[in-house]
């Protein structure tokens, strides 16, 4: 859908985008200049072809037995030379333009990606992955395709149109006047038709988008649909959507497929005007047969690009709109740079405190109102509460994925905003609920946090996370390639991999956000033993649904709707018979 919408949008700041495109293209200016030069020469040469052919035919027109072969041959050879040179140049132009446009796309892609790496985490919470990806894949592709083909098309068209016109006027101004009748006719016809077809084509794209979305959604829920014997309804709905798509297709093509033949017919009528008037002029002795021949060739050349230009302009607009979207992304505010005198957080003890912290993802929706807590080095702090209570938000603040609105988060007594982000984040290891693996070997996935990790270290971490035996059962062991969407590894196993990753990373502070939610109970028990080793002497933050897992925490924070409603040890909280007590006993009901 995003793709189809983007075609229709017109750029808002055409000039700005053009200027920035020009800046990005600056390194290629020599190449571009050579393309322009080559293009001019190649097209002038290919325009000379018909003239030379005309001259040769003129020589031949002397009639039976009177042809001057030397001159015919000379003209013919010149003609051949022009064509050969022009073709070779065209190939060279293609080569250069392919190179420039692809390199340009590469540069843009790398810029966008590097930008993504500098954006705050919040950006990714607010934008859909599909939308961001379509800028890198689809939008940049539109720009590069437009560059590769349209720049040369425009140059070629302009040269051809101007050149042909000049040649036509040179041959016969009177006949050239004839084309001035048919060309405007063809151009206004295509413009008129485009206005008619454009909305129909976007409607078609839209209805295809609707159909694609529906199919994807229904098939991914297929089991449910079958389970409820709902397939009749779904098929009926699809019939309607399919019918719509078919109609939209027909409606658009109905008009679209008339353009080509009509323009062809207008050109043919033009040709017939030229033939008639040419003949009449020939009778009046004002033109030769050879001249008529070349004129016909030029008029064919002339009408082609004229009809193309409107098309190209449309493509240019959509490329500019795409460029604008890419530039908008490049203009997004980045994660704030570290403060000027930011220190690296070194020799971390791990005393963490939050003082009167207030925070909301949007200013009008505060999540945390006034939160104060302490977690001293080596302690285990558990955060519990119903879904949506703000547990994950605290993690976001600790890691400085977001900055607090008021109050302060401190590590070892210093405001975390006075440390460099890199050193602050480096002081934490974390295992999140949403397990994350990337396409790569198991070794790479475990070693991700530690550069130059040795195989021994990785194996030790895997053993500690109780995933080593599983890995050894895989055909390629630690070299087995896993991926986010690959089915060769279950969710639970992915979670173990991320635990192994954290084990290897070995930081002073540890964040476990529902770290064992996807692991089955018997494995969990084993991991917990390993985790206890991992957690020893560290400051630990644990988010858990299963309250049994955090009973021995030094401090339990009970969150509800963004506020800490209770804090204390398990025993204290149970005695209080408050919110925690209710949550805890609910497990056993």
């Amino acid at each position: 859908m995003a793709k189809n919408d983007s075609i229709m949008k017109k750029p808002r700041d055409t000039r700005g985008s053009l200027r920035r495109l020009a800046v990005t293209l600056k390194p290629f200016r020599l190449w571009l200049a050579s393309v322009v030069a080559l293009c001019l020469v190649a097209n002038v040469l290919s325009l000379l072809g018909p003239t030379l052919a005309g001259s040769a035919i003129n020589e031949a027109a002397a009639g039976k037995g009177k042809v001057n072969f030397d001159r015919v041959t000379t003209f013919a050879l010149r003609m051949l030379a022009c064509y050969v040179a022009s073709s070779v140049m065209t190939i060279a132009i293609n080569l250069i333009m392919v190179h420039i446009s692809k390199r340009f796309a590469g540069i843009l892609r790398e810029q966008v990606f590097a930008k993504l790496m500098r954006l705050p985490v919040g950006y990714f919470d607010r934008h859909q992955a599909g939308d961001i990806i379509s800028r890198v894949s689809y939008d940049i592709d539109v720009i590069s395709t437009c560059m590769a083909s349209d720049i040369t098309s425009i140059l070629t068209s302009v040269v051809t149109v101007v050149g042909s016109l000049v040649m036509m006027i040179v041959i016969s101004p009177a006949l050239a006047l004839m084309t001035l009748v048919t060309i405007p006719l063809a151009v206004s016809y295509t413009t008129w038709m485009r206005k008619k077809t454009q909305p129909r084509y976007s409607k078609r794209s839209k209805s295809y988008g609707v159909m694609n979305g529906f199919v994807e959604e229904m098939l991914s829920g297929q089991k449910t649909i079958l389970a409820y014997a709902y397939e009749g309804n779904v098929e009926e709905k699809f019939e309607g959507i399919n019918e719509n798509a078919a109609e939209a297709y027909y409606d658009a093509e109905y008009y679209g497929c008339a353009i080509g033949p009509t323009v062809g017919s207008i050109n043919n009528v033009g040709l017939c005007l030229i033939a008639v008037f040419g003949s009449l002029m020939y009778m009046a002795g004002r033109i030769t047969l050879g001249q008529i021949s070349s004129f016909v060739l030029y008029s064919r050349k002339f009408s082609g690009p004229i009809n193309e230009i409107a098309n190209i302009i449309n493509e240019l607009y959509s490329a500019l709109a795409a460029a604008e979207r890419v530039f908008n992304l490049l203009d997004e505010p980045e994660e704030l740079v570290d403060r000027e005198h930011a220190q690296a957080l070194q020799n971390v003890r791990g005393d963490v405190s939050l003082e009167h912290v207030a925070f909301g993802y949007t200013p009008d929706q505060p999540i945390i109102h006034d939160l104060t807590m302490r977690a001293d080095a080596g302690r285990l702090v558990a955060i519990v509460g119903p879904t949506g209570a703000g547990k994950t938000t605290i993690i976001n603040l600790l890691m400085r994925f977001y900055d607090v609105d008021a109050g302060c988060v401190a590590v070892d007594g210093g405001d975390i905003r006075d440390y460099t982000r890199r050193s602050l984040r480096g002081a934490y290891a974390m295992v999140l609920q949403d397990t994350w693996v990337f396409r790569g070997t198991i070794f790479e996935n475990i070693a991700y946090g530690k550069e130059n990790a040795t195989m021994e270290e990785v194996v030790a971490a895997a053993k500690a996370a109780h995933i080593h035996p599983f890995i050894m059962r895989l055909p390629q062991g630690y070299d087995t390639v896993v991926s986010e969407d690959g089915g060769n590894i279950s969710k639970g196993q992915k979670q173990l991999l991320t635990i192994a990753r954290a084990m290897l990373y070995n930081a002073r502070m540890l964040i476990l956000d529902e770290a064992t939610s996807n692991v089955d109970t018997s494995t969990e028990r084993e991991i917990q033993r390993a985790m206890r080793d991992l957690m020893r002497d560290k400051t630990n933050f644990v988010i858990a649904h299963r309250l049994s897992t955090i009973q021995h925490a030094d401090l339990i924070l009970v969150l509800n709707q963004g506020d800490v409603v209770e804090q204390g040890t398990h025993e204290e909280l149970m005695r209080r018979k408050g919110f925690y007590h209710k949550l805890y006993t609910a497990q056993f009901e």
Binding site: A76, E110, V121
Partner: protein
């Protein structure tokens, strides 16, 4: 080609008519330069102005006629393409929607979806173009050559010699280029995958300060893609200038030899001029043939992919009641010594997380044997991949077991009409689907349920509160995949859906994992109180979700390692005891 033929068979009369009209139009179009040549060579020298005008008029009429014929045949071909594609999609969707679990596993969701969309568009475009361009291009080419042959055999020989060489050349280049586009696509997929990984894992990347590393990783992939893309684009840009060069060289030959023949009195100068025009026509014909060739290879591959799905046999046929197995065992739901494995061919990674079973594939069931009496309840607990979901899959006949039989209400499940069987169930699957529709429709799901029933069901599922929190209540729209609901809200809607039909059998497969303990407890209470007549199966990781049920099965690697009540299992089953201890704390 076979499947393409099958789709088009119905339309063959109409297609033939379309092609005849297109043929006529193309022939007349070919006549135009012929008339032009006649006008300049034969009419003009006579000095007869009236004749010049008459011939000119004839040419104009011809041009208009050509347009009419071309436009109408184009439109006719669009009509056929529309009809054929629509029917093809209807059939494909019907088959896809009714695929058995094993079949769905074999293809995988992304593959089926792309057949419905990209492949069907490829075929449609081909059907549209083949009828017109497929006629026009060869006729332009062959007709052009034929007419030049009648004009001057000697000169035409040059064409006869060159055109086949050009076609072979162009198709050879395309043949080399087409597979490169697959590689380019894969390169693009690779790049997109890295982006997606970074977007979804941005917290990990930032936490570990791996931004530079990720930048390098992306650049490597982007550079590789760039190289491939440039190479493919360059190769595909070659045929144009090469064909032009060839034809222009031929043109030079025509001029040279033509002059000689004019000198010998064998031909007229006008003929050479006409040749120049026909050359252009032939050039376009050759390029169009190349395009058709590319389209055909694409459309044919697509058609084959579609055919593969559409022509599948039903692998879960309904048996007549007499042929079904019988059982004397008591119970509403009976598993009689059932063993099952997903087919060996389906274990590869490509099936992925989209697989039907949702869990690891290599797991199977070994000798599962139990029964649940009407209105009774059964809990299933065990490690991920131990076969819990598979039991549900067999019960609802998404698969058939290799050994043993499954009975519902005393009847072999294979003898039920599939819809009849499934209507007995109200079910929530693991990672179940919410559809982009109103909450009402998501709960009612095509069943004729009144407002009271919807409200009662959502109240039991603890969903009523948040539904009523929306201004438009039950008419609130869900986004695709229910993206506008939290995990807990989704599960509560799904449970409402399962409860709403007052099903004979209620199945909750990991349906409350995102609910906190309190909500989960209230849900269990509501089911106990308001749905006691339903036979219930609860699959869960949490022991608290199942410990109060009539019986519990403990699964481990496809086997039942424990079967009994909570108390019995605490006594007899060490694994169960272990799970209990871990989840409820040492104290419990």
């Amino acid at each position: 080609m076979r499947y393409l033929g099958k789709i088009l068979k119905k339309y063959r009369g109409f297609i033939a008519l379309t092609m005849v009209i297109k043929l006529l139009g193309t022939f007349l179009e070919l006549l135009l330069p012929y008339v032009l040549e006649h006008l300049i060579d034969n009419v003009a020298p006579t000095g007869d102005r009236a004749m010049v005008l008459i011939w000119g008029l004839a040419m104009a009429v011809l041009a208009v006629l050509v347009r009419t014929l071309n436009v109408s045949s184009n439109r006719m071909s669009v009509r056929t393409a529309r009809e054929a594609a629509r029917e093809m999609r209807t059939e494909l969707f019907h088959v896809s929607l009714n695929l058995s679990g094993a079949q769905m596993d074999e293809f995988g969701l992304p593959s089926i979806t792309s057949r419905m969309t990209a492949d069907s568009y490829n075929v449609q475009n081909f059907i549209r173009a083949a009828q017109t361009m497929g006629v026009r291009a060869p006729i332009m080419m062959i007709g052009g050559i034929a007419i030049t042959l009648t004009m001057d055999r000697g000169l035409a020989m040059i064409l006869c010699f060159m055109v086949p060489i050009m076609i072979v050349l162009v198709i050879l280049i395309s043949k080399r280029g087409i597979p490169m586009f697959d590689q380019v696509q894969r390169g693009m997929d690779d790049m997109v995958r890295i982006m997606r990984e970074n977007i979804t894992g941005i917290r990990v990347v930032k936490a570990l300060s791996k931004e530079d590393y990720e930048n390098r990783r992306f650049t490597t992939s982007s550079t590789a893609f760039e190289r491939l893309d440039a190479k493919a684009s360059f190769i595909m840009a070659l045929p144009g200038p090469m064909v032009t060069l060839f034809l222009n060289a031929g043109l030079t030959l025509v001029v040279l030899i033509g002059a000689r023949r004019v000198n010998g009195g064998q031909t007229e100068p006008g003929v050479i001029l006409a040749f120049l025009t026909y050359f252009n026509m032939i050039l376009m014909g050759v390029m169009a043939i190349n395009r058709i060739f590319m389209m055909l290879s694409k459309a044919n591959a697509s058609a084959q992919r579609i055919a593969k799905v559409v022509e599948l046999q039903d692998d879960l046929p309904v048996l007549p009641e007499a042929e079904g197995a019988h059982t004397d065992r008591e119970g509403f739901l009976v598993f009689d010594h059932v063993s099952f494995s997903y087919e060996a061919g389906n274990t590869d990674a490509s099936v992925g997380a989209h697989g039907f079973a949702g869990a690891a594939r290599e797991q199977c069931l070994k000798n599962i044997d139990f029964s649940v009496k009407k209105g009774g309840s059964l809990g299933i607990i065990g490690a991920t991949g131990s076969g819990k979901t598979t039991i549900v899959n067999l019960l609802m006949r998404f698969y058939d077991p290799q050994e043993g039989r499954v009975f519902v209400d005393g009847r072999d499940v294979r003898t039920y009409d599939r819809d009849e069987l499934r209507r007995k169930f109200g079910v929530v699957f693991q990672n179940d689907a919410i559809f982009a529709d109103t909450i009402t429709e998501n709960i009612a799901f095509g069943r004729a349920l009144g407002e009271d029933e919807l409200r009662a069901a959502s109240a039991d599922a603890m969903a009523l509160n948040f539904i009523e929190g929306y201004g438009d209540g039950f008419e609130h729209m869900a986004d695709i995949h229910g993206a506008n609901f939290s995990g807990g809200q989704k599960q509560r809607l799904l449970i409402s859906r399962a409860l709403a039909g007052k099903p004979e059998v209620l199945i909750l497969d990991d349906a409350s994992s995102a609910l906190d303990y309190r909500t989960d407890a209230s849900l269990r209470k509501a089911i106990r109180e308001h749905h006691s007549e339903a036979t219930t199966i609860v699959v869960a990781q949490r022991i608290s979700s199942i410990m109060a049920l009539d019986a519990i099965i403990v699964m481990d690697e496809g086997e039942m390692i424990g079967y009994g009540t909570h108390e019995q299992l605490m006594e007899r089953c060490p694994v169960y005891r272990e799970i209990y201890k871990v989840q409820m704390g040492e104290a419990a």
